[in-house]
């Protein structure tokens, strides 16, 4: 595909997926599980940003907050309210885990919007681990807290008796599809947005009529991607809260 574009336009090359490649930072050779790659680097940058925002930014513990502290407090309050509203009081003790997920996804999404950066959350490997971690944790919490009563989640007691087995099958399927949709939603949104940005950027090389349009397109898509980054972090987090609520209170 890249070659076709290349030959047709003469000098024009599209590599919208190159930005997602994982490669070694140092030297040559195969990528082992411990190899330091661009994934390592961008995750480390995310950790640094989180430390700057949430630790360095709040070091004064000011009653009247500075700007950075104000942002940190807003994020804290936002997630805390979400956890409390969706899961109830007994979900509060899982707040640090949920906040970890939220802040990692949010910061990674925003870092991915920097030009030349690598978007860790656009990889299905990353989002699938996040989603399966939520899935298994929530399932284990459900069984530990409620025992066999957790299976009542699949048995819709408010439905007519004849419908219940059918509904139970649907509920079980939907339960096991959760981690798939949960992870693909995040990775897919980010990957698509970034690929589109790259395609528009490719068109910007073409010439004086298409280039301004393409650049306007890049700006518009970029704005949309900023929105998508925040919304996908929010969606991932609130779905985690909803799943957690199901585990804590399985009765319909």
């Amino acid at each position: 595909m890249a070659d076709e574009a290349h030959s047709a336009e003469g000098g024009l090359s599209f590599h919208p997926l190159d930005q997602f490649e994982v490669h070694r930072l140092f030297g040559e050779g195969p990528i082992h599980w411990y190899t330091i790659t661009n994934v390592t680097m961008w995750m480390a940058i995310a950790v640094v940003c989180i430390v700057l925002l949430l630790v360095i930014g709040t070091r004064k513990r000011a009653v009247v907050p500075s700007r950075t502290q104000s942002v940190a407090e807003t994020l804290y309050g936002f997630v805390y309210t979400m956890v409390e509203d969706v899961t109830g009081k007994d979900g509060i003790k899982y707040f640090p885990y949920i906040f970890t997920l939220f802040i990692f996804i949010l910061i990674s999404n925003f870092l991915g919007l920097l030009p030349m950066s690598f978007t860790t959350t656009s990889h299905i490997a990353v989002t699938a681990i996040l989603a399966f971690a939520v899935f298994f944790t929530v399932t284990i919490i459900g069984f530990v807290k409620n025992g066999a009563a957790f299976l009542g989640l699949f048995w819709v007691s408010s439905a007519p008796l004849a419908l219940r087995p059918i509904l139970a099958i649907i509920e079980v399927i939907s339960y096991f599809v959760r981690p798939v949709s949960h992870s693909i939603r995040l990775a897919g949104n980010l990957m698509a947005g970034h690929a589109v940005l790259k395609v528009f950027a490719g068109f910007a090389q073409v010439g004086f009529i298409i280039a301004p349009v393409a650049i306007l397109g890049v700006v518009a898509i970029y704005a949309l991607e900023v929105l998508v980054s925040a919304i996908q972090a929010y969606v991932f987090t609130i779905l985690t809260c909803v799943y957690l609520k199901d585990a804590l209170h399985p009765s319909h």
């Binding site: 990528i31 790659t37 989180i50 513990r61 640090p96 990692f104 860790t120 990889h123 996040l130």
Partner: protein, 176 residues
């Protein structure tokens, strides 16, 4: 260019998506787990307790300030009530003073009026006495003139005036 394309395809694996290149999965998963653990420890040990404490402290400060404001408001209301009461008292006091003054003036007035009435009465009595004297004087004078006149008239008529009879007649006439 062809070389890079081939290399690219080989690297990316199926469908040309780096996301589906399973050879990089262990690497990504390993670093993700490390990152999440690091973030979790930073957040749960340092950041979240600190932010929570700051928010709680602010909430406490706000609650205290509201309580203090409530107290000040109550004190202001008390002061206002005291002021109102003082105003009412002052009005009552003023009313009392006005009433007392009115009563005093009335009493004084009554005394003066009584005195004036008494004086007027005395003067009236005196005047009446004087008038009575004058009247009596006038009646005597008229009686004398009438007697003289009657005597003259009787004498002019050629009769002999009986003094006693004339006096009796004049007196009777004047009474009638």
């Amino acid at each position: 260019m062809a070389d890079t394309a081939v290399e690219h395809g080989a690297e990316a694996g199926g469908a040309g998506m780096p996301q589906l290149d399973f050879s990089t999965f262990p690497n990504q998963i390993f670093w993700l787990v490390v990152t999440l653990i690091v973030i979790y420890f930073i957040l749960s040990r340092v950041a979240l307790p600190r932010i929570g404490a700051v928010l709680a402290e602010r909430q406490g400060t706000i609650t205290n300030d509201i309580a203090a404001a409530e107290e000040l408001k109550q004190r202001a209301q008390e002061a206002e009530a005291a002021y109102e009461k003082a105003l009412v008292d002052a009005r009552a006091e003023a009313g009392k003073i006005v009433d007392t003054a009115k009563a005093d003036i009335q009493a004084e007035l009554d005394v003066q009026l009584a005195k004036a009435d008494a004086e007027i009465a005395a003067q009236t009595a005196e005047s009446e006495k004087a008038i009575a004297e004058i009247q009596a004087g006038a009646a005597d004078a008229v009686k004398a003139v009438a007697k003289d006149t009657a005597k003259e008239i009787v004498a002019a008529m050629g009769g002999k005036a009986d003094a006693k009879a004339i006096t009796a007649a004049v007196t009777a006439r004047m009474k009638g």
